[in-house]
């Protein structure tokens, strides 16, 4: 592919650069050199080139162009664009037909809907539904699936969130030396905004909503194994409550509780607790020792083995990750 392109450019001698180089130049912010030749392909008069130069000059704010030539160029740009759109219409029709053809061909080769020998019809789903309550002790079979049968997968998901927030901290967090100065400036700015416009509507509604939101999130996390919900949804609700608190009352108040140190400590501890619990049950399960974790009465709050502590760990990670993203992107600090 690349080779043929190179040959073509050498034969015609029109494009001295490889396409990749032009693309790299364009990414680096340079105007491509062969714009004139491209415009000549559409049989546009020579003034178009001047127009291109005008536009590029204006975009980099050199402002050397005269007003008169700009208006003339504007008319030519319109002509150029109408020609381009005519070609664009035909090309988009062809590309659309090809894509639709490929997709229809792919659909024709799919196995029929609901056939017994399809790979989706295996015994795994039935086993989870029939023996899930007995195996895991969780009434909510989804919680039993994601936190018992497939807990390793959920561990990976929690780690993804942790790594994401670590990467955002690396990119966005202000350096330690400038931290105090920037923080004081931000607090002063917030205070001036607050004096100018106290935003009482948001504050009074947040007084009612924040405790209710966080309480409901805790309820969803703790009842993850006996009702719909779980760590991810409950953690998202708690994170939304924390964000609302930070929005209404300012970062300064919430960062007395959740600052960089406590944030990293709590998130790391939650992830390590998850890893420890699952390592124990994997080790004992694989060696047929039997973990000795009581399953409890199905439907009670203390049932389902490790599902409740794992839900709490996942909830903490999700809530703090959501709040951390908000705080890092809006303030640049935790």
């Amino acid at each position: 592919m690349n080779n043929t392109n190179q040959n073509n450019t050498q034969k015609s001698g029109v494009h001295p650069k490889k396409p990749w180089d032009i693309f790299a130049d364009w990414v680096n912010g340079e105007e491509p050199e062969d714009k004139m030749e491209k415009s000549e392909q559409y049989a546009v008069p020579q003034e178009t080139h001047e127009l291109h130069e005008n536009i590029s000059a204006q975009t980099v704010l050199h402002s050397e162009s005269e007003h008169e030539s700009h208006e003339k160029g504007h008319f030519l740009l319109k002509e150029y664009l109408t020609k381009f759109y005519k070609m664009y219409f035909g090309l988009s029709l062809i590309v659309g037909c090809v894509v639709v053809g490929i997709l229809i061909y792919a659909v024709c080769t799919l196995p029929g809907y609901g056939l017994a020998e399809n790979p989706t019809n295996n015994e795994v789903a039935q086993k989870y539904l029939e023996e899930g309550l007995e195996d895991t002790g969780a009434v909510n079979s989804v919680a039993g699936m994601i936190l018992d049968y497939r807990a390793f997968d959920t561990f990976g998901e929690s780690t993804v969130l942790f790594v994401a927030v670590a990467a955002v901290i690396m990119l966005m967090k202000r350096s330690m030396n400038k931290k105090n100065e920037a923080r004081e400036r931000l607090v002063a700015h917030e205070i001036t905004i607050d004096k100018k416009d106290p935003n009482l509507v948001l504050k009074y509604s947040a007084v009612v909503l924040v405790p209710l939101t966080i309480l409901f999130g805790i309820y969803v996390v703790l009842n993850g194994h006996i009702s719909p919900g779980g760590g991810f949804s409950g953690g998202a609700i708690i994170g939304a409550g924390l964000m609302l608190y930070a929005l209404a009352f300012g970062h300064d108040k919430i960062s007395k509780v959740i600052h960089y140190r406590s944030f990293t400590m709590i998130t790391g501890c939650a992830l390590l607790t998850y890893a420890g619990c699952k390592a124990y049950s994997f080790y004992t399960g694989a060696n047929h020792i039997g973990g000795g974790i009581p399953k409890g009465v199905p439907g009670a709050i203390l049932s389902g083995g490790f599902i409740l502590p794992l839900n709490i760990c996942v909830g903490i990670i999700v809530a703090l990750t959501m709040y951390g993203f908000y705080s890092l992107f809006s303030k640049g600090d935790l």
């Binding site: 416009d197 935003n199 509507v201 948001l202 509604s205 009612v208 909503l209």
Partner: protein, 105 residues
């Protein structure tokens, strides 16, 4: 049967209010007019549809849940609309100010 008819009248009225809101959001050009339509009709349509659902379901534990949903919607939706409008007013461009209907900032 009568209960079903009353409930369906409420729900159809709620759907009509929401349809009017959607129409208004596309009809008006300026953001404050659009937010006005969207915010008002949200509260009214939510009330009508939830009352229709309450009548349809009869008095049970679900009624309390519907009331809670209504409470949360009425608490959050006007506050969100207020904040969006406030953001528009504080950041609006002076040059575009010929189609305002609000006075002052």
């Amino acid at each position: 049967m009568i209960r079903f008819i009353i409930a369906s009248v409420f729900i159809v009225a709620g759907i009509f209010v929401f349809a009017a809101a959607a129409f208004g959001v596309f009809k008006f050009k300026y953001i404050l007019n659009r937010m006005h339509v969207a915010a008002k009709c949200d509260s009214m349509g939510a009330l009508l549809i939830l009352v229709g659902c309450m009548i349809l379901g009869g008095f049970s534990f679900m009624t309390v849940k519907f009331l809670l949903v209504l409470l949360v919607l009425w608490l959050t939706s006007p506050v969100a609309a207020h904040l969006i409008v406030k953001a528009e007013i504080t950041t609006q461009n002076e040059e575009e100010s010929d189609e305002y209907e609000v006075i002052g900032k």
